[in-house]
């Protein structure tokens, strides 16, 4: 009886340890998902706050310039239309989660992903001066570039530069290794870029270290 009890006992112990481990893992991954969502919601919220700020300031400027500088006032009005449409598209594609991709959403996820990987991010806080037609391409570039930095670079820092005509993702890691040609990420990005009329270049990162991925659009 004693032996049987001991057997059952040790079996239970092992089983419990296993169960505990699994529970801990599940908790951790749940927690991670949860935190990620909260993070992204907050960042998105901030970025939308930024869009609305630009809209209000520009609307005021358009009004003030109305009589004295009608050409500029009209230009401001055109900016306003673009900004509000883009913000609307961002809200909608983000509310859809995985189905859509938005530039502000990608900035938010990039921060989260890099920090989780222990790579210090230096990211733009706003994306509103990127013209509508390039926003999706830039969002894909950001996603692929940051994924690559996390997977291949062994970097400590990752910087993203963004302006109306280009986006660049650079890191201070080990740089490109002899390519085994098995990846599709950059090739897929090149195809996207070609379809959109943009170009992809890769080079060493700043100070000749690491890796740098740039997508440039025609002026």
């Amino acid at each position: 009886v004693l032996l049987a009890a001991a057997a059952v006992w040790s079996f239970r112990l092992a089983w419990q340890r296993q169960a505990k481990l699994m529970a801990a893992e599940r908790d951790l991954s749940e927690l991670a998902v949860e935190e990620e969502r909260a993070r992204i919601a907050r960042d998105l919220h901030d970025i939308l706050g930024h869009s609305l700020t630009v809209i209000s300031v520009k609307a005021e400027l358009a009004e003030r310039l109305f009589d004295d500088d009608p050409v500029r006032a009209r230009a401001e009005l055109q900016d306003l239309q673009r900004l509000s449409r883009d913000a609307l598209a961002d809200v909608r594609s983000t509310a859809q989660g995985i189905r859509g991709i938005s530039l502000p959403g990608e900035i938010a996820s990039a921060r989260m992903a890099l920090e989780s990987a222990g790579i210090e991010p230096s990211l733009p806080t706003v994306a509103d001066d990127v013209p509508s037609r390039w926003r999706e391409l830039f969002a894909w570039t950001l996603r692929e570039g940051v994924t690559n930095v996390i997977r291949h670079s062994q970097a400590t820092r990752c910087e993203v530069e963004l302006d109306p005509a280009h986006i660049r993702v650079s890191d201070d890691g080990r740089g490109p290794c002899p390519d085994d040609g098995s990846g599709n990420g950059l090739e897929g990005l090149r195809q996207r870029a070609r379809l959109a009329g943009a170009t992809v270049t890769t080079s060493p990162g700043p100070g000749d270290r690491g890796f740098s991925l740039t997508v440039s659009v025609p002026a």
Binding site: H50, V54, V57, E60, R64, S122, P124, T125
Partner: protein
């Protein structure tokens, strides 16, 4: 003429704010920068009377820039601007020597007024922002 420096990483906002404030007869925008770590150099060069500093910027944030500016160009007064108030912002801004703290979408005439008040040595604190900075978050009292 009150000489203004504007620091904000959001280029469209910075440009529009500069244009709006420039429309006021007694204000002149003498420098614009997009990063926190460019504030001090720009201020040394252009000698502004008032610096409008965004809080969230690359390089160093506006709060850190305000601290450096206080030592580097003590004659320049600081008006912090932000989109959102966050716990501790207001306290940190005041501790950094800022004279005012307002939201970025403050109507231009009111913003111009805030600049004038700060320039004449008064304090300007946006009431909604003050509330946000104090009430948002878990425990604003223990915030560093």
């Amino acid at each position: 003429m009150i000489r203004l420096l504007i620091a904000d990483d959001q280029a469209l906002v910075r440009g529009a704010l500069a244009a709006l404030l420039q429309l006021e007869d007694d204000l002149e925008v003498v420098a614009e920068v997009a990063r926190g770590d460019e504030v001090v150099d720009a201020a040394r060069e252009s000698k502004p009377d008032v610096a409008l500093l965004d809080v969230e910027m690359p390089g160093i944030d506006g709060l850190a820039a305000a601290r450096l500016l206080r030592d580097a160009v003590p004659t320049c007064r600081v008006l912090m601007v932000t989109t959102f108030g966050r716990p501790g912002y207001l306290k940190q801004a005041m501790a950094a020597g800022a004279s005012g703290f307002v939201v970025k979408d403050t109507p231009a005439r009111q913003l111009a007024d805030a600049v004038r008040r700060v320039h004449s040595g008064l304090r300007v604190v946006d009431p909604t922002l003050a509330a946000e900075s104090l009430t948002q978050g878990d425990s604003p009292l223990t915030d560093r």
